[in-house]
Symmetry: C2
Subunit: 476 residues, 2 copies
Amino acid sequence: MPLDNPKSDFSKWYSEILLRGNIIDVRTPIKGANVILPNGYEIWEKVKEILNKEFKATNHQNAYFPLFIPEEFLTRESEHFDGFVPEVAWVTKVGDTELKEKFALRPTSETIMYHMYAQWIKSHGDLPLKINQWANIIRMDTKETRPLLRDREFQWSEAHTCHSSAEEAKLQVEESMKIYEALFDALGLSYLTLRRPPHDTFPGADYSIAYDSILPDGRALQIGTTHNLGQSFAKVFDIKFQDVDGSTKLVHQTCYGVSTRVLAALIALHGDDQGLILPPSVAPLQVAIVPIVFKGKSEGVIEACKTLEEEVKRAGYKVHADTRDNYTAGWKFAEYEMKGTPIRLEIGPRDLKNNSVLLVRRDTGEKIPVNRDELFTELKKHMDEIQAGLKKKADEILDGFIVDIDDFEKLKTRMQNERGFARVNWCGDVACAENIKDQMSSEIRGTREDVKEEPTGPCVVCGNKGVQRVYVAQAY
Amino acid sequence: MPLDNPKSDFSKWYSEILLRGNIIDVRTPIKGANVILPNGYEIWEKVKEILNKEFKATNHQNAYFPLFIPEEFLTRESEHFDGFVPEVAWVTKVGDTELKEKFALRPTSETIMYHMYAQWIKSHGDLPLKINQWANIIRMDTKETRPLLRDREFQWSEAHTCHSSAEEAKLQVEESMKIYEALFDALGLSYLTLRRPPHDTFPGADYSIAYDSILPDGRALQIGTTHNLGQSFAKVFDIKFQDVDGSTKLVHQTCYGVSTRVLAALIALHGDDQGLILPPSVAPLQVAIVPIVFKGKSEGVIEACKTLEEEVKRAGYKVHADTRDNYTAGWKFAEYEMKGTPIRLEIGPRDLKNNSVLLVRRDTGEKIPVNRDELFTELKKHMDEIQAGLKKKADEILDGFIVDIDDFEKLKTRMQNERGFARVNWCGDVACAENIKDQMSSEIRGTREDVKEEPTGPCVVCGNKGVQRVYVAQAY
């Protein structure tokens, strides 16, 4: 049974594909704390692998910090934590015993990490310090939960760095942008790199960069963020170092993170009514081999599939020959299509005779007869094309959702119907941002960080002088 | 500054090496919830890599289940959970709001996983189901915490399988023993595979196999367990399948796990007064290259180190050429010794002339001049020797701690002094086991599962007929 079309009812399609694509099961006893199923978990492990490689190449180290945050830490940095407090889970009891001091489950790890950093950093020789943590995060959002988009427990990577100068911290922000570009490219995601407006900057940060993708329903999805924290946390947590000249200074900090939300973007931007479509770079299975067997004509086919499996494996692909005889070929086709396997190879008795194999692409559905002698050239070519093609399609989706609007009523109509990103001029006044929020449940998401864009006219809300070209969108 | 000798004051040595070896930092605000430092975390990632490879080869799948366990699940399987209840952390509050139903943080995941399994398993075609989870575990032990040995938060792997017959479950237990053997071998750990006595079997399990290593202070350390759960959980969680004959049956289950405790055994069994000694198979850094530079005689040395680094890297080793000029060679030697790097290569001006390099082994301290043309043969040879040598040394430690005792007073003296494993005859009566526990704070750890051992005389406690040959030890 095919899925709905993702464009006609995205919400329904998304719910269905999570379970049928073996990504997420929401049938757990506590809402918003879901099971990551094997296919979903393997993609997440691939995300980890890609980021770990980038982190290693840029001298980041992985470490692990406690899940538990003492209450005192959260009150100490109240500017930072006020926003988190309503969604913090508190442990107040162990066994039958009430705790004298309750503690929180990390909604993010700044406080516990910086408490340690203050003990580790003594001199300029200890800098830069660049540490990443892979961890589960708890945010007991009281709003509606949605799997991978808004979970009460989710997985993420959070990197936290310390530097001896503001200039170095700024360069670190840029390094993080390159790291995430490599990840998002591997995932074939399209996105805008936006500097959030001051009123929407991470509490305690000097400025925040966010990576906004878009889902087929036209809603923006923040798939990652980078914050230049300046020295505000260093002040609160007393993270100081002795500089080369002997003077004591506060460090300059940055932090950046991505979460399992990237899987939501991956699924939504590439999938279709047959299921997932995974880019080869992150597909747990890249090639599925299916034997085509007719009664009495199966001779040699199973063996050929197994031989081919070995060859494809040796060529470096993740491959599986599905030789089960209690499932039909058609059932298997549907199964690997649902799971998003980029390429399927079919072998039947006629292929054996012709020394050929049928290559079927998941992204386009094309069926291409390939001579066995040219298989690996073809395989490589089509894998590359699928990887590039998915990114191109995602870019087209994003481009199709960006419109320039210079009239408030038009903006409202757009945000209530097609949604997407509207590029508008803004005077910089928070009141105008609030007006947009109130009247169309949308937000000013910020200015382009990767491209310089100048205002082209008056503020779309108040008509005063436009000082920034900003993007407006409804967001998850 | 060297460490104490691990044998003279193990406890002090262990505390020191954790921080100086870059493994664990305990200076966190909540006792028993520590930071895993970069060197420790990389070794743990290596453990993951080894186990994931074994799991893949045996058709296990990774998935992730929620941290949150509803209270009702814990009361439902009360036989299983009574032991855990005193150490369970309860979330009772979100933000300022008291929850109507509090929930626990997983002390283990049977209940949440089996709740899902009951929904997933319908027919014999869904079996066997073999799922592993990498997760953080919360046990708010009220006894003294000790890093990696008894933590309130720790990392682990827990695999949970379902089968259609008791015979298959039994074979699965054996498969798990092989999987762990591969891991423990890579870590160079010595251990006994013991079937725990019935009174010490995991609650709800038919029988429990445990892997007991030993630390230099003579205390046993359980580094992993496998449980044959039979059908008791299947009954409680209603995990049924339709068999080939159409009848509905309960599944047969097993579970097995290892935790960051294996790092404690790794550190304690191999380390010395210079720091960690890591087996090449899990060392984050396998080869450290240190230039020997004298004033005015450094010409070409740094370049030679960098060239060598590239060559060693291409040969497949994890290598780093430490060419920093603000640290002396001696300081670097001590640093890589502390971190446990298996092999150090030194290059000085004379080596350049002689086309040689000095190979220094971390395990034996041997300094071996090697001709550059034979370097990779020598490197391979010494790596293999270090790996095998550490295992051999660990086996000798274990062997040295096993004694046969047939007298209660002698057993008591032994357990109060040298400790280690005492092999004794036991009548099987729980009262005798209790007697041992009360009089010498030791436990009957069980019978050998890998080797058949028959009783050789009367029970060491009561003098009645001995029915089992068991191992007694004080344990962590």
